[in-house]
């Protein structure tokens, strides 16, 4: 599904990712953990194609395509989804309208006809209910005056409506209370299948109690310093980044 080899990335001459390798197969859930500033968000932006990042070396293959050659929207429509650490506010654009536009952009890309209004309304309602989101909220402007937790839920709603093949969750757990964390995790778990893969970026082992990863990677200073299974997250919780990185 996703194959990152020897990735080197810099921004404004500053090297941020320094030789990162990561391979994610269909159906796998990988957790990426690391201290602040280690390059987690940078990786998520590079994967989704944000500009201003310089790819100095390395390759990224996504579904047998050279990911780096695709535009941002092509990547999205090919099933790559990023749940943002800081979702953007878009004043004047109703959340439900945004969702519809996103869904229809993808359908258009795939050569399908637009989703009709009724079908869309049904889909939105059922997905919102699963996430315990009040549909009244979807009439408001996208993310404008949403609380931190509401914004994160909104990201997961978008994800479940777009049902991506490869979803990257960038610190979706931060800012969520324990109930919201459980609901959001359930939303993610519902999407888990043999076909879909996840890269779950988080600081805390807490989230991984709910979303059980197949693999855990620890990133420090732009490199994956240790990989393992779920037990690595527990070990990390116990020892802290510092020690784990040293022992690597």
């Amino acid at each position: 599904m996703l194959e990152i080899k020897n990735l080197h990335v810099s921004i404004e001459e500053k090297k941020i990712i320094k030789g990162l390798n990561l391979s994610i197969n269909k159906g796998e859930v990988h957790a990426l953990m690391g201290p602040n500033g280690s390059g987690k968000s940078t990786l998520s932006y590079v994967l989704s194609g944000k500009d201003k990042y310089e790819i100095d070396d390395g390759t990224i293959e996504y579904n047998e395509k050279n990911l780096l050659e695709l535009d941002v929207d092509e990547r999205a429509n090919e099933g790559l989804f990023l749940a943002f650490q800081y979702p953007m506010e878009i004043p004047g654009v109703q959340t439900s309208f945004f969702l519809k536009t996103a869904i229809n952009s993808k359908r258009k890309y795939l050569g399908h006809s637009e989703m009709d209004a009724l079908e869309f309304a049904k889909l939105m309602k059922s997905k919102a209910e699963e996430l315990n989101i009040n549909t009244e909220m979807l009439k408001r402007d996208l993310n404008v005056n949403y609380s931190g937790g509401e914004k994160k839920k909104q990201e997961i709603l978008q994800m479940s409506m777009l049902s991506p093949k490869m979803a990257i969750l960038d610190e979706t757990d931060s800012g969520l209370d324990i109930d919201a964390l459980r609901i959001v995790s359930e939303g993610v778990n519902k999407l888990r299948s043999k076909e879909n893969s996840f890269l779950v970026i988080t600081h805390y082992q807490r989230l991984l109690n709910y979303i059980k990863p197949d693999f855990v990677h620890i990133i420090a200073d732009g490199r994956i310093v240790k990989s393992g299974d779920y037990s690595l997250a527990l070990e990390l919780e116990e020892k802290g980044y510092e020690e784990i990185s040293k022992s690597a």
Partner: protein, 485 residues
């Protein structure tokens, strides 16, 4: 196919070319020689079988025009206009002998309007909208006439009103925009060719949106539209005009005068979607849109509300204004002005507070892309008798790219200490992170810009009649095509 469906289909094809209205129709035309002089004015008047008082009025306006200097208010780069190198009248021959019904209209003209998404055939009409269509210089058809006249509503071309309702025309024409106001006002008064006339009698709420569609077809023809709307006591009317013109290398002049009069407790809502040909990317061709629009809230508790979406024209120069004469009267101005490539717009409003407790509200959204320049220029003038007058102004500018400009020029004059004037202004660049966010959700860069800009304009667009809001949204997106790399 249902009319709305057809319009939606039309709208959906909007993206196909840079300017989809850029076709012109081959028609035999009646056209006097180029040039501006008394003979041309007499010719126009004679073509329209006008009564003598109308001709005298025109000739007097021409005298005034010759004496007036050109307006120099706007921050625009306006090339010298050669008034002698322009045709002042053009009508398709087939319309010379007024068609009595739609069946008699040249099918070519009907086709033109269908291409514009304005089906004239009664059965294809947008439900609930009466359309008066102006093709170059003449009014083609006024639909729904019968239903409206049963209510005593007059909705016809101004040429017709001159003959059928001379008292109203004499009383109100030029009463809001004096002929001597400025040179374009005088020019229009001398050579105006057609436009709409609306009279809503006392106590009547007009049940449909009234609408006019203007189209400049003939080459080198100036269009001098004249519109007069009178809302008598306790009446209400909502009116919408839409405009397009074919692509031509030469510049064409559109100098319209629009006068509104609202009497006691009356309300007029006037909406414009202006999409004249803007010229090409290098700034060649395009319409010069010099428009004078002014509404008089003459009666107490009267209200005039202007909503405009200005996306076209090479140069736009217009300041729809309200003269708030009646006590407690209200004026509103909601504007979206988009300039792309080499377009220039200098637009805004004037709110003149005369009566007590008068209030005005101004919401302006300016969007500039390419190398375009966009200026909001507004005047809020509170006269000494306007006790307790209120104004709220909000001007937001959005820049796309770094070669364009946005300017906000508010003039505030207050001679009354009880009055309150609030002004807010912002200028920002389109947010790259917002664009990225939208694209990450699958929108291509143009759709992302369209979405964000539409959000930026929402406060204004929501004041458009429902049926046109969707078209306006598409237009906003289309007019910004090519603005992001």
């Amino acid at each position: 196919m249902a009319a709305t469906e057809q319009t939606i289909k039309q709208v959906n094809t909007l993206g196909d070319t840079d300017y989809k209205y850029g076709f012109s129709t081959e028609l035999d035309e009646i056209r006097p020689p180029k040039g501006l002089n008394e003979d041309i004015i007499k010719f126009i008047s004679a073509q329209k079988d006008e009564p003598e008082w109308m001709l005298d009025w025109r000739l007097n306006a021409f005298k005034i025009f010759n004496k007036l200097p050109k307006p120099e208010w706007a921050k625009l780069n306006i090339p010298e206009i050669d008034y002698q190198d322009c045709y002042y009248y053009s009508i398709p021959k087939s319309l010379k002998d007024k068609p009595k019904s739609l069946d008699e209209i040249d099918p070519e003209i009907i086709k033109t309007y269908e291409k514009l998404g304005i089906p004239l055939k009664e059965q294809k009409m947008l439900s609930g909208i009466a359309v008066d269509a102006v093709f170059d210089s003449v009014s083609v058809a006024t639909t729904y006439k019968k239903q409206l006249s049963d209510l005593g509503i007059v909705f016809c071309s101004i040429s017709e009103a001159v003959k059928t309702h001379p008292d109203l025309v004499k009383k109100y024409l030029g009463s809001v925009i004096p002929v001597s106001d400025h040179s374009f006002a005088a020019l229009n008064s001398a050579v105006f060719t057609d436009g709409s006339f609306i009279y809503i009698p006392e106590g009547v709420r007009c049940p449909v949106e009234l609408s006019t569609y203007f189209r400049i077809n003939a080459m080198n023809t100036g269009q001098f539209e004249r519109t007069l709307i009178i809302a008598d006591k306790d009446s209400y009317v909502s009116y919408l005009e839409g405009c397009t013109a074919p692509m031509r290398d030469e510049n064409q002049l559109h100098a319209a005068n629009v006068e509104l009069v609202a009497l006691d407790n009356a309300e007029i809502k006037y909406s414009t979607v202006q999409n004249w040909y803007p010229g090409d990317k290098e700034g060649k061709g395009g319409i010069y849109n010099f428009v004078t629009k002014r509404g008089a809230c003459r009666g107490k508790n009267s209200k005039i509300s202007w909503t405009q979406v200005e996306t076209g024209s090479a140069i736009t120069w217009k300041y729809p204004s309200c003269i708030l004469q009646g006590d407690n009267s209200k004026g509103e101005f909601y504007s979206v002005a988009i300039t792309n490539n080499m377009q220039q717009a200098d637009t805004g409003t004037k709110m003149i507070h005369i009566g007590k407790n008068t209030s005005s509200k101004i919401i302006s959204k300016g969007i500039s892309a390419g190398k375009a320049n966009n200026t909001y220029r507004g005047l809020v003038n509170i006269l000494s008798k306007a006790k307790n007058a209120r104004n709220f102004t909000q001007c937001d500018s959005l820049l796309i790219g770094n070669k364009c400009g946005a300017h906000t020029v508010p003039y505030i004059e207050s001679s009354n200490s009880d009055s309150m004037v609030e002004h807010e202004a912002t200028t920002s660049k389109i947010n790259e992170d917002q664009l990225f966010y939208c694209q990450q959700r699958g929108l291509n860069s143009e759709d992302a810009v369209g979405l964000i800009v539409n959000g930026f304009c929402k406060e204004v667009l929501q004041h458009l009649p429902m049926e046109f809001a969707v078209e306006a949204q598409k237009l906003v997106a289309i007019s910004l095509e090519g603005s992001v790399g």
